[in-house]
Amino acid sequence: MSTTSGFRPIRVLVTKIGLDGHDRGSRIVAAYLRDAGMEVIYTPPWQTVAGVVKLATEEDVEVIGISSLATDHLIVPKMMTALRAAGLDHVRVIVGGIVPDEEKTALIEAGVSNVFGPGAARDEIVACVTSLGQDARHARINEFLEANP
C-alpha cells in the first residue's frame, strides 16, 4: 500500500444486481457521491453477483452501493457471501431503494452496513458513505498489519 493511499478519494461502486433496470435513483446517488469528491465506478443495471465481486476487486473500492427498486435486494445476502469468499471482508456495502422492514433485518444480518429508503437526504447518504469508506480503509490497514506483524 503506497503512502499516499490514505489521501486517495474514497472509491465507490454504484451498481444494480439482479433483474430490475430502474436506474434513476442509482444515477442520482452516483452524482451525489461524485460531487462530494469521491471516485465513483458506475455500471449499468443487471450485474451478476460474480461480476460485482470481480469489479470490486479490480477497482479496489471501499464501498459498494446496491440500488434495488424492485426485489433485487433479496440476492444481496448471496453477494455478501461471495465478497467474503473473495477476501473482500473490508468492503462496506449499502443498499438503497425499497426494502420492506422485515427484509431489511436479513440484509443487516448478512453484513450490509446501512439501508436507505426513498427520500433519504443527500447529506445523510454522503456522510454515511464517507464514514464507511474510512472504516473500510482502517479495516484494510488492520488486516494488513495482522498479516504482516
Binding site: 439482479g18 433483474l19 430490475d20 433496470g21 430502474h22 436506474d23 434513476r24 444515477r27 442520482i28 452516483a30 452524482a31 458506475y42 449499468p44 443495471p45 443487471w46 424492485a70 426485489t71 433485487d72 433479496l74 440476492i75 448471496k78 425499497i98 426494502v99 420492506p100 422492514d101 422485515e102 427484509e103 431489511k104 429508503g117 426513498p118 427520500g119 437526504a121 443527500r122
Partner: protein, 559 residues
C-alpha cells in the same frame, strides 16, 4: 403554434387591467417569477388578452373534430368513460389467474399482464435466482403458461394489454391460446404495451432486449404481421411515461414521444406500408404528474400537434389516424414514502388532470406504490378513486371542461410551442432513432432530472413530508407480498419437464427458421416467433436466438 392575442374592443379593459396590476404589485413587491416544470413562466392572472375565442375553430374545434384539442371523440366520457386498466402481475400463472378472474367478476372489461422481470431480461424461469422469480410479475415462458394465466378469461371479448417488449412473445403465446380455444385472431383485441423500443433504449432499460437495429426490424415486422392477421390489435404504444419518469419535463416528454411516433410512422412508410392503415392503430401512454394545469395543457397540446403531424407531415387521410388516443398512469415519482396516506390526495389530483384532459384509459397508482407492490386493499382504493371522480365528483358531465379558460388555453399554446421546439431539435439531429443512438435525448433527460432534484433539495420545489411539513415518524416499509416458494418451485420443475418432453426436432426446426428469417431481408421475423411458440419454443430460447442473430441490446446509459 402560438399566436398574438387578437385585440378585441373591450372598452375600459386597459384601464381596469392597469389598476389591478398596480394593486397587485403593491402587495407583491419583489415577487420572484413562478415557473412550471417545463420552465414556462406562469403569470398571476390571465385575461381575454391572453387568449381569444376568434381562434376557436383553428386551434380547438369541437370534440371529434380536427385538431381534436377538445377530445378525440364527439361524445368523449359522456358517451363512454375511460377504460379502467390496472396493471397486475405476480407469482405463477395460476396466481395471476386467480386475481384476474376476480377483477373480471368485479366488472372489468380490460385486463393487463405484467410478466416477471426475468422475462424482461429475456431469460426463462429455470435460469433465474429463485428468490426473484415472480416477485414483480407473472412467470410466463410458454403458450401453456399463458393458457393457465388466461384460464376462464373470454379472449376475444376482453381487451388484453401486455407488457410485451420486442420480440413480442406474450402476444405470440396469446395467439396460440386463441387458436387452441377456437377464437379467431381477428377477434383478439388489446395492445402491445412496451413495444416502443426507443423509449426503452433511452429511459427504461428494464425492457431493452435486442440491438437498436434489431429492435427496429422486429417492431416493423410486428406491425406488419398484426395489420395482416390481428387487425384489432394495437401493435404500437408510444410511451412517454418512461421519459417523464426518468426526469424529462412534461413538455420534453410530449416532444420526445411525438418524435418517436414520427420515427415509427416514417419507418412504416419506408417499408411500403399504407400510412392510413397503420396510423389508426397507434396509441400513446403517459405519466400524469401532479403539476395539474401543466399536464392538462400537455395533453391538449399533444392532441393538436399529433393531428397536424398525422395529416400534414405524414399524409394520413383517414381522420381515425389523426386521433391521439392515450392511456395515462398517475405518476409514482410524485408519491412519497413519508406519510403514505397523503398519496391518495396526490393520486386524486393526478387522475383529475388525466380525466379532464380526456384520456382513453387510466391506471391510478395505489398509495403504497412508492414503497411496495400494491396490496389488494390499496389497489381497491386506487380503483375507488377513479369511481369517486366519475360518479361523485361527476367529472364526466362536461367535455373538456377546462377549455376556454384564459390560463389553460394560453398554457396550451405555450406548451405547444415548447413541444414543437423539442420536435425541431430532434428533427435537426436526424430524427428520434439517431438522436437516441447519439445519446442526445439521454443527456437532456439527465439534465432535467438533476435540475428537478436540486429544486427539491433547495426547497424551491416543495414536497409535503419530504422537504416541508415533516412529521416525526418511523419510516416503515410494510411486508411485501411474495409468491409461495413451493408453488414457484413446482412451476419451474414442470417447466423443466416440459422442455424435456416436447419434440426437440420441432424446436430445432422452428429455431432454425427463426434464425433464417432474422438473417433474410424479406421474411417476417415475428411470424416465425409465432410459429416457434406453437412448436413449444420458450420465451428465453426465442430471445437468445434473436440476440445472436440481431444483436444484444445494450442501452446507452448516460450517467
Amino acid at each position: 403554434m402560438t399566436h398574438t392575442a387578437i385585440q378585441l374592443p373591450l372598452p375600459g379593459f386597459e384601464q381596469a387591467q392597469g389598476e389591478w396590476r398596480a394593486d397587485y404589485s403593491k402587495q407583491m413587491a419583489g415577487e420572484q417569477p413562478v415557473r412550471n416544470r417545463s420552465g414556462i413562466e406562469v403569470q398571476p392572472l390571465y385575461s381575454p388578452r391572453d387568449w381569444s375565442s376568434e381562434r376557436y375553430l383553428d386551434d380547438l374545434g369541437f370534440p371529434g373534430q380536427f385538431p381534436y384539442t377538445r377530445g378525440v371523440y364527439p361524445s368523449m366520457h359522456r358517451g363512454r368513460t375511460w377504460t379502467q386498466r390496472q396493471l397486475i402481475g405476480l407469482g405463477t400463472p395460476a396466481d395471476y389467474n386467480k386475481r384476474v378472474l376476480r377483477i373480471i367478476d368485479a366488472g372489468a372489461n380490460a385486463i393487463s399482464l405484467l410478466p416477471c422481470c426475468s422475462g424482461f431480461r429475456g431469460i426463462d424461469c429455470d435460469e433465474v435466482d429463485p428468490e426473484l422469480l415472480g416477485t414483480c410479475g407473472t412467470v410466463v415462458n410458454t403458450t401453456d403458461h399463458m393458457d393457465d394465466a388466461l384460464a376462464g378469461v373470454p379472449l376475444g371479448k376482453i381487451s388484453t394489454a401486455m407488457n410485451d417488449p420486442s420480440p413480442f412473445t406474450l402476444l405470440a403465446f396469446t395467439l396460440g391460446v386463441a387458436r387452441r380455444r377456437g377464437v379467431d385472431w381477428s377477434q383478439v383485441t388489446g395492445t402491445s404495451n412496451q413495444s416502443d423500443y426507443i423509449s426503452h433504449f433511452i429511459a427504461n432499460h428494464q425492457f431493452y432486449r435486442l440491438s437498436l437495429p434489431g429492435s427496429r426490424r422486429m417492431l416493423l415486422d410486428h406491425i406488419e404481421f398484426c395489420r395482416r392477421h390481428v387487425p384489432n390489435w394495437n401493435p404500437v404504444s408510444v410511451v412517454g411515461q418512461h421519459m417523464q419518469q426518468a426526469g424529462a419535463t412534461p413538455a420534453e416528454t410530449m416532444g420526445f414521444t411525438l418524435s418517436t411516433a414520427i420515427q415509427y410512422a416514417e419507418d412504416c412508410i419506408a417499408r411500403g406500408m399504407d400510412i392510413d392503415d397503420v396510423l389508426r392503430r397507434f396509441t400513446f401512454f403517459f405519466d400524469i404528474s401532479i403539476s395539474f394545469f401543466e399536464e392538462v395543457a400537455k395533453f391538449r397540446a399533444g392532441r393538436r400537434i399529433w393531428a397536424r403531424i398525422a395529416r400534414d407531415r405524414l399524409g394520413a387521410k383517414d381522420p381515425a389516424c389523426w386521433r391521439f388516443k392515450f392511456h395515462g398512469q398517475t405518476s409514482g415519482v410524485d408519491l412519497t414514502q413519508q406519510q403514505p396516506l397523503n398519496n391518495i390526495a396526490r393520486v386524486s389530483v393526478q387522475a383529475m388532470a388525466g380525466i379532464l384532459s380526456g384520456l382513453q384509459s387510466l391506471h391510478t397508482d395505489a398509495y403504497d406504490e412508492a414503497i411496495a407492490c400494491p396490496s389488494e386493499e390499496t389497489a381497491r382504493v386506487a380503483v375507488a378513486t377513479q369511481n369517486i371522480l366519475r360518479e361523485e365528483a361527476r367529472l364526466c358531465d362536461v367535455i373538456d371542461p377546462l377549455g376556454g379558460s384564459y390560463y389553460v388555453e394560453r398554457l396550451t399554446d405555450q406548451m405547444e410551442a415548447e413541444i414543437e421546439a423539442v420536435i425541431a431539435k430532434i428533427d435537426a439531429a436526424g430524427g428520434m432513432y439517431k438522436a437516441a443512438e447519439a445519446g442526445l435525448v439521454q443527456t437532456m433527460i439527465g439534465d432535467s432530472a438533476l435540475a428537478f432534484q436540486e429544486q427539491v433539495e433547495s426547497g424551491d420545489r416543495k414536497i409535503i413530508g419530504v422537504n416541508c411539513y415533516q412529521v416525526d415518524q418511523d419510516l416503515t416499509v410494510p411486508p411485501a407480498e411474495r409468491p409461495d416458494p413451493d408453488a414457484m418451485n413446482r412451476h419451474v420443475e414442470r417447466f423443466k419437464a416440459f422442455k424435456q418432453e416436447r419434440s426437440q426436432e420441432a424446436v430445432a426446426r422452428a429455431l432454425d427458421a427463426l434464425a433464417r428469417a432474422a438473417n433474410s431481408k424479406d421474411e417476417n421475423v415475428f411470424e416465425k416467433v409465432v410459429d416457434a411458440t406453437e412448436a413449444g419454443v420458450t420465451h428465453g430460447e426465442i430471445v437468445s436466438s434473436l440476440r445472436r442473430e440481431l444483436g444484444f441490446g445494450h442501452p446507452l446509459i448516460v450517467a
